[in-house]
């Protein structure tokens, strides 16, 4: 799939936004400003952006614990996301969801999910809506290597195939389900599993934006044309712990430093587009500067935001009761 310069700049900006967002959340969390749990997506940016560059407003995604990147890639408002993570009234969910439940259904983002494996069945439903109402939309479930072991995920594979749904399963295999290695916890292979359900599947370098972009392009085409579900298995790496505060003692010595140095998807994207003469380094530097300012602004606004009023405790449980 060929992207024009505008699209390349947009993709870079999105990845950079995710990285800057996550780095800053890491800092702010350490400083004690953010309550609860956060699970950061830094290092995995190519996957969310590579997939979502193929999607439009008809399409839905469901995310994981590690959802900030998917939200940004699907177009959620960064200021409102930051405010949400700070538990503020101005947050995308009014401060009621927090990091693990950021959602914006208007943007087709059906929620980060606190339940591992929670998303794939929901995505079958979103795909069923698209199919029934003939919207032409597709639905994408992002799932980690941990979530890939849940029965719900495999039930979703089976149902998506039985109903021939426009669904796409993107397994983001960052090597660790919490602290447990996927090369131990995942029996067989992701591709073998997909094959078992008769679902076309491809394994890609999950840190190669262009590889993800192409794989997702094929899957989206298949789904939109009535060809049913697909699976993409991307191998990638996270730079922070399972959650913030995880000392990552289970990882190898110097593993993360080495990954950041050699495999960073943003660095690889930069290298590739500048070497090919598609974009100038200065253009990308300008984006870096703009994104840094945007994130700084988002944090300032979030910190200055209001806490939800006590009355909000009791609202939004039902449409009517």
């Amino acid at each position: 799939m060929q992207l024009n310069r505008e699209q390349l700049l947009a993709a870079y900006r999105m990845m950079r936004t995710i990285r800057a967002f996550e780095d800053r959340v890491h800092t702010e969390f350490s400083a004690g400003g953010i309550p609860g749990f956060v699970h950061l997506y830094a290092g995995e940016e190519a996957s969310a952006v590579g997939v979502c560059m193929n999607l439009d407003e008809r399409d839905k995604i469901a995310s994981t614990h590690r959802g900030h990147g998917h939200c940004i890639a699907k177009g959620c408002d960064v200021d409102a996301m930051m405010a949400e993570i700070f538990g503020r009234a101005e947050g995308l969910c009014g401060g009621k969801g927090g990091s693990m439940h950021i959602a914006d259904l208007d943007k087709g983002m059906m929620g980060a999910n606190g339940i591992v494996g929670g998303g794939p069945p929901l995505i079958c439903g979103a795909a069923l809506t698209a199919k029934t109402l003939k919207t032409g939309g597709v639905a994408v479930a992002f799932v980690g290597d941990g979530g890939s072991n849940q029965g719900t995920t495999m039930e979703a594979y089976n149902l998506a195939k039985a109903w021939n749904l426009p669904a796409i399963f993107v397994v983001e295999d960052n090597g660790y389900a919490e602290s447990t290695a996927s090369n131990w916890s995942v029996s067989g292979t992701q591709l073998g599993r997909a094959a078992g359900f008769g679902i076309p599947a491809v394994q890609v370098d999950g840190e190669d934006f262009f590889a993800i972009l192409d794989a997702a392009h094929d899957a989206v085409e298949r789904a939109r044309s009535g060809g049913g579900p697909s699976l993409i298995h991307g191998r990638l790496n996270r730079y922070y712990g399972h959650f913030e505060g995880d000392a990552q003692t289970y990882r190898g010595n110097g593993e993360v430093d080495r990954l950041r140095e050699q495999k960073d998807p943003i660095m690889r994207f930069r290298q590739r587009v500048t070497e090919a003469g598609l974009l100038e380094g200065s253009q990308l530097d300008a984006i870096d500067t703009a994104v840094a300012a945007q994130i700084e602004n988002a944090v300032m606004k979030a910190k200055a935001g209001a806490m939800p009023p006590p009355a909000a405790l009791l609202t939004d449980v039902y449409v009517s009761y």
């Binding site: 914006d104 929670g118 149902l159 449980v317």
Partner: protein, 334 residues
Amino acid sequence: MAKKSFRQAINEALAQEMRRDPRVILMGEDVAGGQGAPGEDDAWGGPLGVTKGLMPEFGRERILDTPITESGFIGAAIGAAATGLRPVAELMFVDFMGVCFDQIFNQAAKFRYMFGGKAVTPVVIRTMFGAGFRAASQHSQCLYPIFTHIPGLKVAIPSSAYEAKGLLIQAIRDDDPVIFFEHKMLYDDTDDVPDEPYTIPFGEANLTREGGDVTIVALGRMVKVANEAADALARQRVACTVIDPRTTSPMDFDTILESVEETGRLVVVDEAHPRCNMAADISARVAQDAFKALKAPIRMVTPPHVPVPFSPALEDAYIPSAARVIEAVRAVTA
């Protein structure tokens, strides 16, 4: 007005709502039946024939047979509801909540709150419940207290064919997730059921008997049992009010409290296991808010704290009977 069975009332409600709104779909295991099989299509219409005939009218695009995959299709119904359909999913027996509950209580129930009021999840989960079918421990439970416990869910428990049609149409038109409990021993009960579509609002109790001596609260099939008891007691000059809350979430505590203020005596009949059930919930609320009106301790008529047994001899002893209700009323009026 025609006499219709509870089964027909539900079938008619589904058909009328599907005709009215193309976004209404039905899914579940064997809701049509025979998919992909060499024999008859629409072979079952659900295990007890409740949805028979819908597939020929609405087609397989809107009447979806599913694999036996409760997490998968209950989750799909919820995801479809959050994205623009109004699915009715059939969880064949409520006992099967054990293999799909996450999708109901962590996903459907919480979307709206977690997402700051922006999600609307108009899903209905129809499910069979209750003892008396000789179906043993894993196909006979009530379990509605568990769903009632979860904020974000609504829980409807019709006690007659009239109630079933009106409450189901309300459930389908409702914008919140609704768990719709169908007692399998009521399917052949008949009642006057209007041909036209109608809705019964949630959160308004129905009074099936009126009397000033004792308030009896009962749900689902137990409403019949309570009525039977109340009629027998009326012949012995004890006048009972029988209250059918219709929905346990929302729950019409006001009607119960008002009645207890009048009668001063409360008997709650609940087919659910006794611990943390609706009887306990209602009794606690009355004890808190109408303590001064009470002239006798509240009595709860429930099964014992055991799984539902198989043998008819044991199951009959398990299910609360009119005789036990009468005994409880006698105790509070003694």
